[in-house]
Symmetry: C2
Subunit: 507 residues, 2 copies
């Protein structure tokens, strides 16, 4: 059916058909159509909404993201057809029925994900099926390669190329801000792509954005890395393994990280940037994604096996994930803490030790340091100011101010100090509650929002001394965080009343 | 956040926020918000799209289906808030992890489904999880009761109330058009709610709509049934077990009918209309939903057990489902065939025998007929014209013309006769291909579209004699059906070439 385009500024995918045109085409709300730009032959799949007024008969509304690929102007002619049923749906059904997916079947699904030929609900069925009927290592390899093939790839002329990844779950885990400059300062290349926070209080990309731009193409990432040895950018802007973002969005409501998808997601990004030496940080702890050492070791073995299949040398570090890394949670606070360490501060120890340990593993893998001397070399690079110097180069090449100092970065203007209600040892810090609190205060969107911890687990504190401070950029957000904070109890001091059961009369 | 309403005539759920307002609220595209009508306090959940132009800052676009519940006018004040995470998501996750859902958990999920508090993708996760980790009978009962409770219910003053259901999969299964008038003519009450075709060429509601209105409220269904003994209406208009439609839409892409959801779906609708005697038609055959007698018997036992739990007496009929019922597929053709039988035609035998067998079971269950005499009584009611008389009353009360005759109903003007390419017996009829062909020709939307079978399985036919005719209302649809029909081979005559493998040179 030939129709006239009406561009609709709605940031989503799809078309808006007049109800009568939809009837003639034989499609209902939610059905799939093929939309073709007759000028250049570009054809995309779109899901149908209907109207009786916004698009008159003979006109079709095109939502913005769908038109990004078609590139039609208001009033242009367009062809809309009934779309066939994508083969992917049969392969997803196969996985629902407990079948194993072949390389081609997996590639077909991932192509359809990237081209929006299947709906978010259909993708969710694939994820749910893979979560319940786990992918075996062959299927994970297929998925990894399919994710790589459906996006851009970087091919460096010389190797080694180092990369680092943390599987997350620990608040305040700003270590990439130290690890990347240390590794680049050693003379190695590390083209680090990071994510923005989805469930957390600040992803590495959110942190870096406090200091510089993070949105670069794959080609720019390569050029910058060739030039100065490292970058810290947002992976979402590179079009590297673009299927991954779509998958993560659908996993978000259920707070799941389906094992096969997670392995493939991490390794596809490493493979696509051309890395051949990869260090993976697996935080282990009750409130992280990996509750026990046993689970951590199993996951580590899987990463290493998948690396073998991809010709990537992988080492994993199981790290202590029960409590936050360092004292700060939230973009500005974390960046300030990282800059202080780069500038020479010997604290916080947990943050420095974790960073140099992970950087050290990469230095040993690459041969820059002999076995068991990597952390020491990393410490030297840090102490001598070489990491700070390299970090300034990275900030500069990403368009930020290389002369920025830790004192230039400030948390939000609104703050609330939580004091210890009793004297005693800090006996528990709940990662999940701390993240929730930081998010309620506005992080990561409000960069000044977050939490500064004054006492960490094991410290003796007196009644009335500050336990932690909540920062926010807007007073109503601070208010909301304070209200919820009473219920969340993110930091527990021994002797604190955990709850109170009222007498019958009190109910 | 207080905003001004802008009604957007888009037939879907959701709100369109200005990007700046979305940032201030801290929500992203696809996030959930709470939308409140401050006039009456009505609050609904909606998913967010964003724009920079269609809704200016301070304004929020309200899509039509979301506004059906809020009932706001253009320019009215509205309150939009960040929405919490529904508890349903944890319960769905529990099912993904293989857990068993309690009564309350199930009710929470189904309430959220009906109130649109969870997205289509989240509902798909629930369905996929229940498909892979099947619901046990307790969970099915919980689901059934939850579906009933979240919709309208009919309470008849006196019983028995009879109902009939076919689990589908067989084309041409127009038997309700005979069964309902036969049962109502016997003096029993049968408030039959039916579905429209989703994957088929015509649901009973699509068929009845050829003759009369089918959209009535639950109250109207009750009144009409009290008055004349029976109705044949579209269940979707009654708000009886409304969760079911949402579930079926999400199952459609994968052509699945998750067992637990299917049992609950059927029985919830029977329970909600107050039925206490139910006959269930389970067509068994290679191209139906139930491939073997063993599967059929298992499903029958489950229906009966679920009925026991709900105080509904259930009997199941395993019927021959390998080939279509009668000779016609598609709304007008099927209605014409049913009217002819009601008017006295002794053919087609398959259609008449199946109808009187099922009606007979209900007559026996109710005590109207002694054991093994139900079919005979049903046949008498049909032969004596009492069923036709009752059907005319049903047509009249539903607003149609009670004097309609079979000759008044016509298939589409465009037809194509497929002749037997060779002489031989008809050895195969493929239900799936026949349905696909009828849908390609325009059924069920184009009521005149469909297929008339001139020879059924087992009949000897000569080369050149008509095998079947395809009807359509529009020539381009007929063309499309003919093109695809060559590939589909819906009817096979012994001796027909099924395919041809070319020589290597021919590739």
């Amino acid at each position: 059916m030939k129709l006239i385009t009406k561009i609709l500024d709605i940031a989503k995918r799809g078309v808006l058909l007049n109800r009568l045109d939809a009837r003639i085409l034989g499609v209902l709300d939610g059905d799939r159509v093929q939309v073709i730009n007759p000028q250049n032959g570009v054809s995309v799949t779109a899901f149908v909404d209907t109207t009786t007024t916004i698009a008159g008969q003979g006109t079709v509304g095109l939502y913005r993201i769908t038109n990004e690929r078609l590139n039609l102007a208001d009033g242009a002619g367009i062809e809309v057809r009934e779309a066939g049923r994508p083969a992917s749906l049969d392969f997803i059904k196969k996985k629902m029925d407990g079948g194993r997916l072949s390389k081609d079947e997996t590639l077909t699904i991932i192509k359809d994900v990237v081209n929006d030929d299947i709906s978010p609900a259909e993708l969710t069925a694939f994820i749910t099926a893979s979560y319940i009927n786990p992918l075996d290592m062959d299927e994970v390899e297929h998925l990894t390669r399919a994710m790589v093939e459906t996006g851009e790839q970087i091919k460096f002329a010389s190797h080694p190329i180092v990369d680092k990844h943390s599987i997350g779950g620990v608040p305040g885990n700003k270590i990439s801000l130290l690890v990347v400059p240390i590794i680049a300062a050693s003379g190695l290349k590390i083209p680090k792509t990071s994510s923005r926070a989805i469930t957390g209080a600040g992803g590495t990309a959110d942190l870096m954005e406090v200091l510089a731009g993070v949105e670069f193409s794959a080609g720019e990432v390569q050029q910058m890395t060739e030039k100065i040895g490292g970058v810290i950018v947002w992976g979402g802007a590179t079009n590297i393994a673009p299927a991954d973002d779509r998958i993560i969005i659908q996993e978000y409501p259920f707070k799941i990280d389906a094992r096969g998808q997670m392995l493939a997601s991490v390794m596809a990004k490493k493979y696509a940037v051309g890395a051949n030496l990869v260090v993976i940080d697996i935080p282990v702890g009750l409130h992280t994604k990996v509750p026990s050492m046993q689970d951590g070791r199993k996951l580590a073995r899987e990463f290493i096996e998948l690396g073998d299949r991809l010709n990537i040398k992988v080492e994993c570090a199981l790290t202590y994930g029960d409590i936050p890394v360092g004292h700060s949670i939230g973009p500005n606070l974390e960046v300030q803490e990282a800059l202080r360490v780069l500038e020479g501060s010997p604290e916080p120890n947990s943050f420095i030790q974790k960073s140099i340990s992970l950087a050290g593993i990469a230095l040993e893998m690459s041969g820059k340091a002999a076995r068991d001397t990597g952390a020491q070399l990393a410490q030297e690079i840090l102490t001598k100011g070489k990491a700070l110097e390299k970090f300034r180069e990275i900030i500069a090449i990403q368009g930020g101010d290389p002369n920025v100092k830790s004192d230039d970065i400030h948390p939000g203007d609104h703050e609330f100090v939580v004091n210890a209600p009793v004297s005693g040892y800090v006996i528990e810090m709940n990662n999940t509650s701390l993240i929730t609190l930081a998010r309620l205060a506005g992080a990561p969107h409000d960069r000044g929002a977050g939490i500064l911890l004054h006492a960490k687990k094991g410290k003796l504190i007196r009644a009335g001394e500050p336990l932690f401070t909540v920062y926010a950029e807007r007073s109503w957000r601070l208010q909301k965080a304070i209200e919820e904070g009473r219920r969340l109890m993110p930091v527990v001091v021994e002797g604190m009343l955990l709850g109170r059961v009222p007498s019958i009369n009190g109910i």
